[in-house]
Every structure is written in C-alpha cells, then in structure tokens.
C-alpha cells in the first residue's frame, strides 16, 4: 500500500465519522499500513461523549479490555483521562467484575484527536460526506458536501446518530445532530440508492446542571476505588487524584409532576416514532411502567475537571423545558438547579445489521463496511469494538486476506457482532453479560490471553508488548503449577490461619492449590502460610486466583465451547442456493436466503430456523461435497 503524496484524494480506507467507532476503525487501518482518511463534520467533536461522561460498566468494561487486548485505543485513552474509577461487582464473581470510569470528556476528545493527528498513514479531515460511490456493487469512494471526490478501496460508515438526526424536546422538534451539532441529512439518500434498508431508532440524554447550583450535602457521595485498576493491559497502575460522584432519588413530587405532564411528553404525545431501547427508558417511561416503585435513583456525575457541568444519569426525558426544570428541582439537592443543557431525545437513521456479514462488510456492496450506532447498537464501547473490527477487516479485505471474525466463545466483541448481524435488533442494542453464553471464560481479566495473540498476528500489537504478554502468561502458568505441587503439612500455625478465615482445619497435608479452591481463602491471604509465593503483579495474581478457584466451571465451559466450535467451523459456501435444497421449510429457506449465514453454527441461531432445518442443510452440504469430490 503505497502513498501517493501529491494526491490527498486517493486512499485505501475511508472512514465516515470520527466518533468512537470511527476513531478505532481509522487507527486500526492506518496502523495496519493502509492509507486512511477519517472525516468528521466538525473536528471539534472528534470522540465526543454526547451522553454519559463515563466508559466501561458491566459487559462494556469487558469490551474495552478486549479492544485494548487487540491493540485498540479506547482503553489507553480512558486510562489517561479518567477522573474516577471503580471495579463493579467485586462480590458477585470474576465473570462479572466490571471496570467503570468517569472520564474528563474534553480531555478524552483532545487526547483521541491528537492521537489521530499523530498517526502515520492517517489524515483527519473536516467535511460532511454526502455520497458513497459504488460501481458494479463495489464501493469506489465518497463525495463531500464541497463536491470533492475521494477514491477508496474500502469505506467504513461510522455515522453514529447523525443520519437525518431529529431532536425532540417536548413539543419542539427540529432537525439536528447530537450535542447541539448539525445532522447529516444527505448521506441516507445515497445509502438508500444502493438498496440499503434504513431503520429509525431513538435514544435520549438527560440535562446538565451547573455545580454551583447543586447542594451535595443532600446526596449520597460515591468515591472511586483505590488503587485504580487500569483498562489497558499496558498499564499496571494509575496514580491519580479522583473526584466523587453523587446519588440522589426521585421524590413523590417528581412523580406527580411527571404524571400531570405526561401528555406533554414527546414520547407519550406520539411525536417520537423511533424505537427506543428498553434498558434506557426516559424517566417518564419508568414512572409509567413501574408505577409501584416509590423512588428511582439519579446519579449526579461530573463532566470533567475544568467544567462545572454535571450529568444526571437516570433522568433522561423528552418533556418540554418548563417541565424539565420543575422535575429537576424536585430532586433533593437540586432544588436550586441551574440547567446548562436541556434533556433531549434524538431520532436517527440506522441500517439493518442483518444486511452485514460477520466481518461488518455489507453483503451486497463489496468493500463497504459499517460500525457503531449506525448498526443499531448503543454505547461508546459497543461502537468502538465494532469500529476496531471494521477497520481491521477493511484492510484484510484490501490485502485479499480472510476477515477477522471473533466468535461467541472468544470475546464479547464476537457476541455483540454475532447478535447484531445474525439476530438483528429492533432497539439500540446494549451489551450485557447475560448475553454471553461462555461468561466465565470471557472475563475481563483474561482478555489479553484470549485476544492479544490475535492482535499480534494482525499487526496491531507490537513486538515488545507481545513479549511482555508471553512472560505474563508464562509466570501465571508457572505459579499455578507451583500451587499444584506444593503441599502444606498440618500444623498449629496453618490450622490457626484456617480457623481465622472460617475454614475447616486440616489433619493431613493439603496442596496449596486445593486450599486456594476454598471460597473463603484468597490468594493474597495464602501468602501468610506460603513462604514460596512469588511477588506477582496484581493482574497476574488475579488470573492465577480465578483460574484455580473456578477451575471446574471453566473446564466445563471450555468443553461446551469445543462443541460450539464444531458447528461454527462447518462453513456454508457463499454461493449456496437455498432454493435448490429440498426439504427446507419455507420460512427457513427465506430466512437463510436473506441472511446467508457463514456457518452452520450461525445458521442455527437465526430465529425461524429449526434443528430439523439444520439437519437438512447438513445433509445437503455433505451430498454436495461428496458429489464435488467424485467429479
């Protein structure tokens, strides 16, 4: 991939939109050696967080870890700019430990934009892309609002919620993008022209309040964890002063105000037609659907260090402005609140993800990829994860190599993409740990073990990081071996130790390994009776401990994964003609023909395809293979 220095109009990969998906896509493509351009309608809105000022959380934190393990940017950028960090769910088991950080929003944007600017092979350009150019079902480039044509071998759509954006505040409706920015009104038509189906989704964001008007003494305070656990596997520790978040609750008065003004809500008044997410209902939705609940939580979170803006998580609404003020002022501590930005709902065009392959390339347009909220997902992390995969696959496509497809047993990223492109979605899709079948294997602590070798192979993980990774894996397995071989003889000291940890005493020797398996004995505690314990970094020790304690369950999941893989590895030829397969039920035939699954495993997850249909398909494929072999 050579660079034509004189021509800034010709690229290998073009990325449309510089949000969280776009940034990862562009960085991955450029780092893999492709000449890349990333376009944003406004360069001051690169990597913006128009909604909550945080990254991570359950399942989302897993995604960030996975992005980092593959060589993506989000985790590193978050580590540099976080202002509070917490590990959630520490009492609920290692599969669901989840890292969540408050981010200084402007710092994050600045950091990410600067990273793009410094990246070799990458141009960051301000322009609105109004057309994609396609010849013979193959993408050839894009055209900007200024009429400039940029040629490209692959194009990635990462337009977020900008396409035909429509802002709704009560009965006021206007054309607009998120966070007071302009919408992208012209690209939708261009996509439609090439037969791309567009859906209409909706989401929303709550109001922002000036800190000077908040009485924190009436709220619960929430501090960050100490020490901070970083997102990135490249960072072992982060030393930083953290700022607190706050928690308040809705009151009876809040509920009354909402009920009295329901008819003025855009949601209930029928102004909004888009499909909103179930997990992210507006406060009026919550009051109506959960009428018995006396109060709802509202989290009050700082937007950054050099701003007085605070975000009200849990309080998104489509009420008109006057009702918003009244509602907010009914919350304890916010009686004198001064609103800086009003809550709004936004409707936008997105594609139907069923039109995508697992590589995130469109099935019917060669070289056109799509990632992020335009694919029907929700959340910065979900967007970044898809962006990274789309960026990688755009380059692999140009190189003529097989795409990188992570399956459901390898990563949350795999679950996310498989869910989207196999099952589709009728609301913005949010990642949840309960969506993953192999949750105990897909932990946030072992994301590097699962994915860093892949990142290394595709060239996003550099040699020195890979070496460090190998050393880490080696010392973890050495330590597990040591625990398995070392026996603790019974002694007063040991039994006193066990008694102190409410663990049953021993009368014969026991392996350290078996002691560690006891739920009440932690790896750290074991040090007291284990003089040979090496001084491992926190992240190493965590994996040792989890691997031992959950060994039986992990082994069981690995067995299930083996079964699962057998079906995933049975590929279906791209040119298969479902019309020619006798015995398929009509519904299954239509669904299979529409979605063209890549493997038998994927086919079996399509709703409306029964196990009997899969049997028929298997028989047909084998018949075909045998016939082919004879000829």
């Amino acid at each position: 991939m050579s660079r034509n220095c004189s021509n800034q109009n010709s690229y290998d990969v073009i990325v449309i939109g510089a949000g969280h998906a776009g940034c990862e896509a562009a960085l991955a493509a450029a780092r893999m050696g492709a000449q890349t351009a990333i376009f944003s309608m406004n360069l001051d809105s690169v990597a913006n967080m128009p909604c909550n000022p945080n990254i991570g959380g359950t399942a989302k934190g897993h995604l960030v870890r996975e992005i980092d393990a593959l060589g993506g940017e989000m985790g590193k950028c978050a580590d540099k700019t976080l202002i509070q960090s917490r590990m959630l769910n520490t009492a609920k088991g290692p599969a669901v430990y989840s890292l969540r950080a408050q981010i200084d929003r402007r710092s994050y944007q600045r950091e990410m934009k600067h990273t793009l600017e410094l990246q070799e092979n990458l141009d960051l350009i301000q322009a609105e892309i109004t057309d994609i150019l396609v010849e013979n079902n193959r993408v050839t480039g894009v055209r900007s609002h200024l009429g400039t044509v940029f040629n490209a071998k692959a194009v990635i759509l990462t337009t977020g919620t900008y396409l035909k954006g429509r802002i709704v505040v009560g009965d006021v409706v206007y054309s607009g993008g998120p966070d007071g920015l302009l919408p992208a009104n012209r690209l939708s038509e261009s996509l439609k022209k090439f037969g791309i189906e567009l859906l209409r989704f909706k989401t929303g964001t709550p109001a922002r309040i000036n800190r000077r008007s908040i009485d924190f003494s009436r709220m619960e305070i929430q501090h960050g964890d100490n020490p901070i656990v970083p997102f990135s596997f490249e960072h072992e520790t982060i030393e930083r002063e953290q700022v607190p978040c706050y928690l308040t609750y809705t009151t009876e008065k809040t509920h009354r105000i909402i009920r009295e003004n329901l008819h003025r809500s855009a949601l209930f008044g029928g102004i909004i037609e888009g499909i909103g997410p179930r997990y992210c209902p507006s406060i009026e939705d919550k009051i109506v659907r959960f009428a018995d609940k006396e109060r709802h939580q509202v989290f009050v979170e700082p937007m950054g260090l050099d701003t007085e803006e605070f975000y009200l998580q849990g309080f998104s609404t489509s009420m008109p402005v006057d009702v918003q003020i009244e509602m907010i002022r009914s919350l304890p501590g916010l009686e004198n609140a001064r609103i800086m930005r009003y809550a709004y709902a936004i409707e936008y065009d997105c594609i139907n993800p069923l039109d995508l392959k697992l590589s995130l390339e469109f099935k019917n347009i060669d070289g056109l990829f799509s990632a992020g909220q335009i694919n029907g997902s929700s959340g910065y992390e979900e967007a970044a994860a898809q962006g990274l995969i789309a960026g990688i696959n755009a380059v692999l496509k140009i190189k003529g190599e097989q795409p990188l497809i992570l399956d459901r047993s390898q990563a949350y990223i795999g679950v996310l993409i498989d869910d989207l492109v196999t099952k589709g979605t009728n609301e913005p899709y949010r990642m949840m740990t309960s969506r993953a079948e192999y949750r105990l294997h897909l932990r946030q602590d072992n994301a590097d073990a699962r994915l860093t070798p892949i990142g290394y192979k595709i060239g996003l993980i550099k040699e020195d990081r890979y070496k460090k990774f190998l050393i880490k894996q080696q010392s973890i397995s050495n330590e597990i071996k040591r625990l398995k071989s070392k026996t603790v003889p019974p002694s007063d000291k040991v039994n006193e130790f066990l008694k102190r940890h409410s663990s049953s005493p021993i009368s014969t020797g026991i392996k350290l390994y078996d002691l560690l398996k006891r739920p009440e004995i932690t790896y750290e505690a074991l040090k007291e009776i284990d003089d040979g314990m090496p001084d491992l970094p926190r992240s190493f020790a965590e994996q040792v401990s989890v691997s031992v304690k959950y060994e039986g369950y992990i082994a069981k999941q690995l067995q299930q994964i083996e079964q699962f893989k057998k079906m995933e590895q049975r590929l279906i030829p791209e040119d298969i003609d479902y019309e020619k397969i006798p015995g398929l039920r009509i519904e299954a035939r239509q669904k299979l023909a529409r979605q063209r699954p890549a493997s038998i495993g994927q086919a079996s997850r399509i709703s409306g395809v029964s196990p009997a249909d899969i049997s028929v398909l298997l028989i047909y494929l084998d018949a075909k293979r045998k016939r082919g072999g004879k000829q």
Binding site: C51, N52, G57, T58, A59, L88, N89, A91, K92, G93, P94, A95, V96, T205, P206, R278, Y279, C280, P281, S282, I283, D285, K286, R289, F290, K293, Q297, F299, Q313, G314, S316, M432, T433, S434, R435, E437, R439, L440, P519, E520, Y553, K556, Q557, K566, P582, G583, L584, R585, S610, P611, A612, S615, V616, L618, I619, Y620, D622, A623, R625, K626
Partner: protein, 461 residues
C-alpha cells in the same frame, strides 16, 4: 463431518403404540460397548459373530435390575444400514419397556437420534446414494413436521403447562440474579443465597415428582407390577389363576412346580395390573429351581407391590421366616396374605397372626376374601397417588432425559450455593437447568432472561 459421527445414537424403531414386541436400535462406535454393559446372555457379547441373534436379559448395570428378556442382534460395520456398528434389541411389550431400555442406553452414553438420523448416517457413510438421500430429506422434512405436531399435541395441556411454569420460575430467578450482575449501580434487591436455595429446591422437588411420574406413567400404561411370593405350594399360582380367571400356570401339589416367572395381565377394579408369579423362595440345591429363586428376588425389587402368600394349613415355617426376612426391606409395598383358610389349622394360623398381625385371610379354593384382596391392591395404587386424573405424567424418554439433566443442574446449583460460590457461577447451572426444560417445550432461555429483566426491573440512563 467425522466430528459429527463420533457419537452413538439410539431410538425405538418400532411404531409407538401397543405392540407385542418393540425394537430399539443403536448405531455408532460405542454401540457394542454399551450393549456389552447392559446385556447379559450366554458368553461374551464382544465375541458374538456379526449378524447373529442372541437371547438374554437387559440389566441396569447401576443396580443389576433386570429390565426385560430380549433378543439382541449384533451387526458389525460396514455391513449394516448405517455402515456403523449396529445393535438391535427386541424387547417385550409396547412403548414403556422399550423406553426404559432406551433410557438405560442414554444413561450409558448413547444420544437420542434425531428424526431420520439413521438414514442420514446411512447416506453420510456412503451406504445410499444422493438420489435416495434426497428422497429421504423430503421424508425427514415431512416427518419432522408431523413429529413436531405430535410433540406439540403431547405437550398441550398440563405437562407443558407444568414444565413451562417451572421454566418460568427458573427464568425469573435468573433475571433477578442477572439484573444485579448487569446493573450493579442500581438498588435492586440482591438475591439472598438462602432464598435462592429455597426457590431452587422447590422447583427441584417438583421436577423430581415429574420424573417419578414417569414411573407411574408406566404403571398406568402397562399396569402396576404385583409380585406374588411365598414358599412353594402356598398357593401362589392358584391365586394368580384365580385373579386372572384363567388356567395359565401349571398347578400341581408337588412343591416347586413353578420354576420360572409367569406373568399375567389382569384388570382389578378397572386398574391394569401385571401379576408376576415367582418360583417358591426356598433355599434349594436344584439348579433349575435356584435360577427361579434368584429371579424371584429380582422381581421383588422391581415390582410395585408384593403379595406375600402364607399357608394356613402348614403354618409359619422356617421357609416363611426366610422369606419374611427378604421381604423386610420392601415392607412398605407388601400385602401379607394367608391362603387355604379352608384347610386351616387354628393353632398354626394363630402362629402366623402373632408374627404378622394384619395378615389378610383368603381361600382361593372357596373364593373367600378375594374381593377384599382386590380392594387392598386397588387402594394401594391410590395410596401412592397414582391418580389418573390429576397426576401429570411424563411418558416420553427424551422428556425424561431432559428432566433428569435439569434436575442434575439444579443439584449442582444448590451445591455451588452451599459451597459459597459467587452468583455468576450459580447462574450457569440455573440457566442450564432452564435450558434443559426449554428443550422439551422449545423455548430459548437467553433472550427470555433479557426480556424478563426489562419487564421487571426499572433501568435507565
């Protein structure tokens, strides 16, 4: 493809319904090893020549229970329909005995065959050509539709309601756990371990009842098994003949005439009953009779009810004492009967009554007390809640298998809670239990849990 053909499949090959004989077929690499585990006949199963038929018994290797006398056919690959090692077992009676044998195969590593799977293997192994295979595909498709209709109609009504309600309870438990795992920042009530244990246990108990219902299903379909035991010449065969109203057993006055098991189906007050007459239970040197005695002990173990027949004429003898000792552990399911009151010796009868106060007095010869005995048998059945109207019955071996798997999952979940494991782990077993129930009713659990979370819990930004 090889990966998919490494397992051994089994199914009942004969039509469902009341038939004289049923055939169970299994095919795959483990067919011979499984057969050798559960079949007891002359010689070693492995040494039988291919394509030969052998007489013997199917036994449950876990407890050595005899399930049936069968003819077994061994056919070694590749000269078989599937081109794999194949075993066919011909057993007595209709669906129920066959399902019991099939169930035994499943417990020993055989997987339920899917519709048309034997044919599919025949094709995949090159036994039939493409044209034939395509014809078979049509059959599979139509058969699947039919069989799924059958399954649906079977599941319509109380069984599916019951399984659905149990599954829903598990899904709700999961949602309560999951919402706390996925939305830790919200103030939902945490699921307390002991509450969860209690809830799981209640589903567990109901599942267990359902599985036991499988056995009652058998009773209702094939009749309750009632074993008649007693010393030689106490009148067992006469009683069997009297109850069945036919002369089936050879009855003589020489002790030990009935050397093998005799079975007779009778209808007692509308209840189907399978009467099993055993050889006399006495210590014997006679080789032929000894087999009969051992068999009698096996029958006592497997039968639902035992009639212990004593003799009012000969009184309580050492042989009766021996039998009483053997019956002791089945006392719950034993009715004590003293026959030959027509020839009774008062003193000897009193000896019996001293030892067995509630003994029922009858005379087969004079036809006295028989009605009372019939009522006792009938009442025993009802005492065990085998209520045809209200009991939900599991009759399908596949359903039973999934119920058992689900039960095992719940056991693991309870053990995990007991051991203090975290909820992310406990939920794995509960989910697996719900999935196993879902296999019966055709529901996918994962999506349901997510939907349940959003319905029940209020989450938002």
């Amino acid at each position: 493809m090889d990966g998919l053909l490494t397992d051994t499949i089994g199914a009942i090959s004969t039509a469902v319904g009341n038939a004289g004989i049923s055939i169970i077929r299994m095919s795959g690499p483990e067919a011979f090893s499984v057969a050798s585990k559960i079949f007891r006949g002359k010689g070693n199963f492995y040494e039988y020549r291919s394509h030969t038929v052998h007489y013997g018994k199917i036994i449950d290797p876990d407890n050595n229970d005899v399930i049936d006398e069968v003819l077994i056919t061994k056919m070694a690959a590749p000269r078989t329909y599937t081109r794999e090692d194949t075993v066919e077992i011909s057993c007595h009676g209709g669906y129920v005995t066959a399902s019991r044998i099939l169930d035994l195969l499943y417990r020993n590593g055989v997987r339920p065959a899917e519709p048309g799977e034997f044919t599919k293997r025949a094709f995949l192994n090159g036994r039939i050509d493409l044209a034939q295979a395509e014809a078979v595909m049509d059959i599979i498709a139509s058969r699947t539709e039919k069989s799924s209709k059958v399954a649906v109609s079977q599941l319509e009504g109380r069984l599916s309601d019951k399984i659905n309600s149990l599954r829903t309870r598990l899904v709700e438990m999961l949602a309560s756990i999951e919402v706390n795992l996925d939305y830790p920042e919200y103030d939902f009530e945490e699921v307390a371990a002991d509450t969860l244990s209690m809830k799981i246990r209640s589903v567990y108990d109901e599942l267990k009842n359902l599985i036991e219902g499988f056995h009652y299903g058998k009773i209702l379909r094939e009749g309750m098994e009632v074993a008649i035991i007693g010393k030689p010449n106490a009148g067992k065969s006469s009683l069997l003949n009297r109850l069945s109203g036919r002369n089936r057993a050879i009855v003589t006055d020489i002790p030990g005439t009935t050397r093998d098991i005799l079975e007779e189906y009778v209808n007692i007050l509308g209840m189907p009953i399978k009467l099993i007459d055993t050889a006399g239970l006495r210590e014997t040197e006679n080789a032929v009779e000894k087999i009969g005695v051992n068999k009698a002990i096996e029958v006592m173990d497997s039968s639902d009810l035992i009639l212990f027949i004593l003799d009012a004429n000969s009184g309580f003898e050492q042989e009766d004492a021996d039998i009483l000792e053997k019956v002791e552990k089945y006392r719950e399911k034993t009715i004590f009967v003293v026959n030959k009151t027509d020839k009774k010796d008062e003193g000897k009868l009193n000896e019996i009554k001293e030892r067995i106060p509630n003994v029922l007095e009858i005379s087969v010869l004079e036809d006295s007390g028989i009605n009372i005995l019939e009522r006792e048998i009938y009442q025993y059945v009802n005492k065990n809640n085998i209520d045809t109207d209200n009991q939900i019955l599991v009759t399908n071996a596949r359903h039973k298998k999934h119920l058992q798997l689900s039960l095992a999952d719940l056991e693991k979940a309870l053990a995990a809670i007991e051991a203090g494991m975290t909820m992310d782990v406990v939920s794995i077993d509960i989910k697996s239990a719900a999935e196993n129930l879902g296999y019966i009713t055709g529901h996918q659990v994962s999506e349901e849990v997510v939907a349940n979370i959003f319905e029940r819990f209020c989450i938002g930004k």
